[in-house]
């Protein structure tokens, strides 16, 4: 019945007088008004398909951080990025909460690689000196790693001694075998790629305040005996 109705309507009363090929009408998109909106965020071109986001919210449903901190909402962050609501995520406390477990990516129906998006929006926040306090500890680790060729090699003689003792006792070389040449080359790559300069450029005292820009930043707290006692 219905099929017949449409068939006749198409043919007669409500059929468009223009031929089908020229009837397309692209909807208005933010990228029409804001130049390079998407490439401004995907600086390194690693995400590729953010605009395919369906806003289905599966990312938020599976997110372990969103389950503790409902104001952290990956779906909404993507929405804001695509909308150009830059200030909201750039200055937010929430974007620093992501654990990078990539559960969102494993569930995403259009395979948006959210972790690499997160990495880049954090760079952008740092560029405007937001979230510097969440960068500073790693600045020190990175500057140490640049020297060691290893990440998290402890600096204090006591910790180094402890590791060397355990390693020797189980039959390994006292210190992980890493050549001077490897260390020199690792260090050189930091300098050649501008990473050394990048690390030095972001200074603690330039930090700008962050705000809980999504739903007031509520954190639910697991109470005693496993009960959830939301604040």
């Amino acid at each position: 019945m219905l099929r017949e109705h449409f068939a006749s309507a198409e043919d007669e009363l409500i059929a468009c007088i223009l031929p089908r090929e020229v009837r397309a009408l692209p909807r208005e998109k933010d990228r029409d008004r804001i130049e390079n909106l998407y490439s401004k965020v995907d600086i390194y071109g690693l995400v590729e398909n953010l605009e395919n986001c369906l806003q289905c919210g599966k990312c938020t449903g599976i997110c372990p951080v969103a389950s503790l901190s409902p104001s952290y909402n990956p779906r909404q962050i993507i929405h804001d990025i695509l909308n150009g609501s830059e200030k909201r995520w750039l200055e937010s406390e929430e974007i620093w909460r992501c654990f990078w477990c990539a559960s969102c990516y494993t569930l995403c129906p259009v395979d948006i690689f959210f972790p690499l998006l997160m990495m880049q929006i954090r760079y952008l926040a740092l560029a405007s000196r937001h979230g510097v306090k969440y960068f500073t500890p790693f600045k020190r680790f990175a500057q140490r790693a640049r020297e060691d060729g290893l990440t998290f090699a402890p600096g204090s003689p006591k910790s180094r001694e402890r590791i060397m003792k355990i390693r020797s006792s189980i039959g390994l070389s006292p210190w992980p075998e890493i050549s001077d040449r490897a260390r020199e080359q690792y260090k050189a790559l930091f300098d050649l790629t501008g990473t050394t300069a990048f690390l030095e450029s972001i200074r603690e005292e330039e930090e700008k305040p962050l705000a809980l820009t999504y739903l007031g930043g509520r954190i639910t707290r697991a109470g005693k005996k496993g009960r959830q006692t939301g604040k």
């Binding site: 620093w96 654990f99 790693f138 050649l192 005693k224």
Partner: protein, 314 residues
């Protein structure tokens, strides 16, 4: 338990290699040196020669994800390390989910974007390196599963029904494509536990992440990491887990070192020992306990070793 795998291990590793390049993990050799040793000993017992090279550096992925490296440096470091392995005509085996995930992802970027590949190769050419993408990247857990029959045949210290709760870690499962199992419900570790005479425990929050990735253990420990891990340990204890295994030294740090802090904060008494799957395999294959470096662990293994019938030092 699901016996079928998404990718057959026999397809992923058709021929058992005579030697493999073992990619040193910073955390696996510094925080838990026993992990490095267990992997080396286990590979040796299973008949595979281990090649390592002091010219290999950190994979540089972790601090990249902490926003403290520019991607350019990590891409160049990846090209350099993998070119080093290619010079030996070997495949790369990692024993850290981080190294696995970062090497896979960064090499994917290099091999699918000529501009990035050229940039990286230009940077490392001065030392004679040139990355082509010939070395394949594996995690040793894939080798354990590929050689499950050899492991089962060579068990000398069965686990005597020890209740083991496994932790897969996100940066293997999140790879999503080309990994052995269904990332949504993996079971191949449980199968290995069963083969070694243990009882795998499917605790409710088995797939909850360790919370320490991208440095949140440093920046958001009290705010989100601890409440998050609390859920995991409540469920592991309820299910009666005696021992938890990991395949990522980073996860091991989070799960092992955080327990005293959780106990203090929530007035609990979690004491679930956490070790690497390779350490458990090495133990069942008869590697002496003194070679496995359990003294690096925060939660002691005494009860576990008693259950298997291997007191400390024997």
């Amino acid at each position: 338990m699901q016996g079928k795998r998404v990718v057959k291990p026999e397809n992923k590793i058709p021929e058992i290699p005579q030697s493999v390049f073992l990619f040193r993990s910073c955390t696996g050799s510094l925080e838990y040196p026993g992990t490095e040793n267990a992997v080396r000993e286990t590979l040796r017992i299973l008949g595979i020669e281990v090649v390592m090279d002091p010219d290999q550096t950190c994979c540089s992925g972790y601090l990249l994800t902490c926003s403290a490296h520019k991607p350019e440096v990590s891409l160049a470091v990846t090209a350099r390390n993998l070119a080093l392995v290619e010079g030996k005509n070997l495949d790369t085996y990692t024993f850290c989910n981080g190294c696995y995930g970062y090497l896979s992802e960064l090499s994917h970027i290099l091999l699918h974007n000529p501009a990035y590949l050229n940039m990286a190769n230009d940077l490392v050419a001065q030392w004679g390196y040139h990355y082509e993408g010939r070395t394949k990247i594996f995690h040793v857990q894939e080798m354990w599963y590929r050689l499950r029959d050899r492991i089962a045949d060579q068990v000398v210290r069965p686990l005597n029904g020890l209740k083991v709760g496994v932790h897969y870690g996100c940066h293997y499962l999140a790879k999503q494509y080309g990994i052995l199992d269904d990332g949504g419900y993996p079971t191949f570790h449980e199968e290995l536990i069963e083969l070694m005479g243990g009882t795998p425990v499917f605790y409710k929050e088995r797939q909850l992440c360790c919370g320490y990735a991208v440095g949140r253990g440093f920046t958001h420990r009290e705010e989100t990491v601890q409440p998050h891990l609390y859920k995991k340990f409540i469920s592991a204890r309820e299910a009666g887990v005696d021992l938890m295994t990991t395949v990522c030294p980073g996860c091991n740090v989070a799960l092992d070192r955080e327990q005293p802090n959780l106990n203090k904060r929530y007035s609990e008494d979690f004491k679930i020992a956490v070790i690497d799957l390779a350490q458990l395999i090495a133990l069942t294959l008869g590697v002496p306990v003194q070679k496995l470096g359990f003294e690096a662990n925060t939660v002691p293994l005494d009860d576990v070793l008693k259950k298997i019938g291997t007191e400390k030092g024997s």
